[in-house]
Symmetry: C2
Subunit: 463 residues, 2 copies
């Protein structure tokens, strides 16, 4: 391959003399790219420093420096008494496929997101500005992996008041959204020797994936309109269960009082651990919100919450509340997973909470969310009269079970053709299910969009 050196070096190295990039670096970059792309193959001798310098009209020192750098980095090999050659160690990458364009349907009933257009941007900016004007270098180092004390204190007050959580600032570990909270809970369970954990079926598939990544095997336990069937949990002989008592995802059941008692008795008798995913707990339409299960047994429950459904998922702010038996493991897990969450975001949320902005936002959204739910219920009754609605009492989504005669996959396809995106229940099933239907998120859509979307669904259903 040595004849390749007969190629004129200026074909290899194109110097831009007016550029701010030093000539030496331009030479290095040209060689790196030529070697990676195999234009200069392994073993190929490169021009001597003298030749290249003279061809490029440069002082030899510049080329010597560039070659030294390429030798230090491993692109070139220098052997005493022989020409410098291209290393055989370089492995060229193949070209990447183009990045897919995000598609968006016109009316999208995707569940799991709040109304982002209603995000209290001005209030968040005010908090962020206040934080920025006070920010100094003491916040910028490696902070307590649990999170900043100011945020933990503000959250403890909020969670005790709004969610009935038995908590002090010391029991909170700040994390990156609910996903990391569940991941951390999974790692804590592993550290405590748990290998199998019960999950709700149907349930969001991410929960199983997150727990699997943490090294746990998941055992599905069925849910009904009253939440997890605890009597089906008991024979499974698992030491832990992950559930969302406030609003089951996707069926929408709220864990009934007698099930709560039964679950706590299970935990107490079998030294079981309850991971409470306090999903969708803030919005309850038929009655005052029910406080967290955690408040009843703080030493048996790992409590997970986040701002994703009340503010915005992109903030990636959540919390794990861990009682004393789990606290050290939870902190160490967070340290090992990412050594703490970003400081500026934490300071901003603390300011936002202390200013009462979170309460204000939740209160303000109650009416529009209830109106959207009502619009959806009315539209389902009108366009899908034989469907049965579940889980409409709380949260930001509901389940509409379809009659046996409906081919859900075909309906989803037809609706997509009419620019309506639907989410079949089958996405949530762990194993087989007797039910079929659609999960509707209504928080992100206006009443008009909901009505129009369901009109198109009705048309697709009849066609």
């Amino acid at each position: 391959m040595a004849e390749r050196t007969s190629r004129r070096p200026e074909l290899l190295v194109r110097l831009a003399r007016g550029s701010s990039e030093p000539l030496r670096q331009q030479i290095e970059r040209a060689f790196r790219e030529a070697i990676r792309s195999q234009r200069l193959g392994p073993g190929c001798a490169v021009p001597s420093t003298r030749t290249l310098a003279s061809d490029l009209g440069l002082s030899r020192g510049v080329v010597v420096q560039a070659y030294d750098q390429l030798i230090a980095e491993g692109y070139l090999l220098s052997t005493p008494g022989a020409p410098t050659r291209v290393s055989g160690a370089v492995r060229a990458p193949a070209p990447e496929p183009p990045e897919p364009e995000p598609r968006s349907a016109e009316i999208d009933f995707r569940p799991g997101e709040p109304d982002l257009r209603a995000f209290p941007l001005e209030a968040w900016r005010r908090s962020l500005r206040a934080v920025l004007s006070d920010l100094d270098h003491r916040w910028l180092g490696y902070n307590d992996p649990r999170g900043l004390a100011g945020l933990r204190t503000a959250l403890a007050t909020y969670l005790a008041r709004a969610r009935g959580v038995a908590v002090s600032a010391q029991n909170i570990v700040i994390c990156n959204g609910c996903a990391q909270g569940l991941s951390m809970a999974g790692h804590v369970l592993r550290r405590q020797g748990v290998r199998r954990v019960a999950i709700e079926a149907p349930g969001h598939p991410d929960i199983r994936h997150i727990l699997a990544e943490a090294g746990l095997e998941c055992v599905p336990v069925p849910v009904d309109d009253e939440g997890l069937r605890v009597s089906d949990l008991e024979p499974q002989r698992v030491r832990a269960v992950v559930l969302s008592p406030a609003h089951q995802n996707p069926v929408g059941g709220v864990l009934a009082p007698h099930r709560r008692q039964q679950l706590l008795a299970w935990a107490s008798q079998s030294a079981g651990v309850i991971v409470e995913d306090d999903y969708d707990a803030e919005y309850r339409y038929d009655r005052v919100g029910v406080g967290a299960l955690q408040g009843l047994a703080p030493e048996r429950v790992l409590y997970v919450g986040s701002t994703s459904k009340i503010l915005a998922p992109a903030l990636r702010l959540g919390w794990l509340v861990a009682g004393r038996p789990f606290l050290e493991d939870a902190i160490e897990t967070k340290r090992r997973l990412d050594n703490g969450s970003p400081a500026i975001d934490q300071l901003t949320l603390a300011h936002f909470l202390d200013a009462g902005e979170l309460d204000r936002h939740i209160r303000r959204m109650r009416v529009p969310y209830q109106c959207r739910r009502d619009a959806l219920l009315a539209a389902i009754a009108r366009h899908c009269p034989r469907w049965r609605v579940r889980g409409a009492a709380a949260g930001l989504h509901l389940l509409a079970e379809s009659p046996a005669s409906v081919d859900i996959d075909r309906l989803v396809q037809r609706a997509a053709e009419a620019s309506v995106r639907l989410y079949p229940l089958s996405r949530y099933t762990v194993g087989a299910s007797r039910r079929a239907g659609l999960v509707f998120g209504y928080a992100r859509l206006t009443e008009r969009e909901i009505a129009e979307g369901m009109r198109r669904v009705g048309r697709a259903l009849r066609s």
Copy 2:
């Protein structure tokens, strides 16, 4: 325990009539706290709604609502025809120990942190303000778990130019600092069937902990002044190795050119994976910085970097560069670990990079860091003349090996008495080591502090 009901209810429930908290909620809170603290024990009958309402001077409806809430949450049990009782399921938490106060030594040679007083706060604020004024709801949902495209594009340009990384925006997964980058690399290796991974010895203990949390067994391989001893790696029959070629932590060696070739040959022959922790790569004092190993074999290297050593650890911003064989697993891992990093921080870093602020900051810090290193070298030569310095050519720390006659633990203790905090090499050893010494971080201290600190170390050494 039923006689407890003879206790006057106003002792149980203290109403604050002027408070903004509704009376019903005050009653609920009082009961929750009384039940958790065992002032109302399991099975204890509570006053009838009529009695409590009359004793508190309230309408009965308010008490009925409060009791209903407490029953729904599981604090109280209602049995038809019998008095309402306290549930036996409530498990009271024990009181928490007080949070420890952070201690700080007067002169602290802690390695691993840049000079936070020099953080470019004004430039960061400018970027954050620009982001805030443009922020709209489209950024606020669940974003691509890889990170925002704008930041990945800006980083790809930066990494290719400054670190010689072979990268496009599509190969980058944004993560929370180097810790999560390594954790993700560990999870990716697990997904690819790797169970044992080689690490540098001595090395930072966190690396082993992070990889263990990801489910990997660590096999220590010795390092010397030329970095990892690749000939000791080969017999271990591992499929992956984690190392920091730019500046080994703590010994400070830079992986020598022949070791780079040897390591790439190992990876190529054994289908091995190299996890490159590009630690401390930006500062090199004896020569121009050496580009990343990743550039030579992008499909065999998982590359990890972060802003922690160049800007501030509290930002928790890092990146994993994954070639095609690892990319899908890396994205899925990030999705499962926390479903993406916070958006506002990403947008801010993208703006900061595009404005050239990162280059400017790194360039500006080169002189003070070199001056501090020189001050430390001079002070060691003066006060610890028989010690041998290693790893001073790059990075923000160096290793000073002590003569056999020095009792390091005693020296650390004596220095602490003189308000100087020192970091023994033994903290980094995996298994036994022939060496003893101290690891000095010098980035955070002024030249004056370094001189004074070492004067005190010298005194402690002679005493």
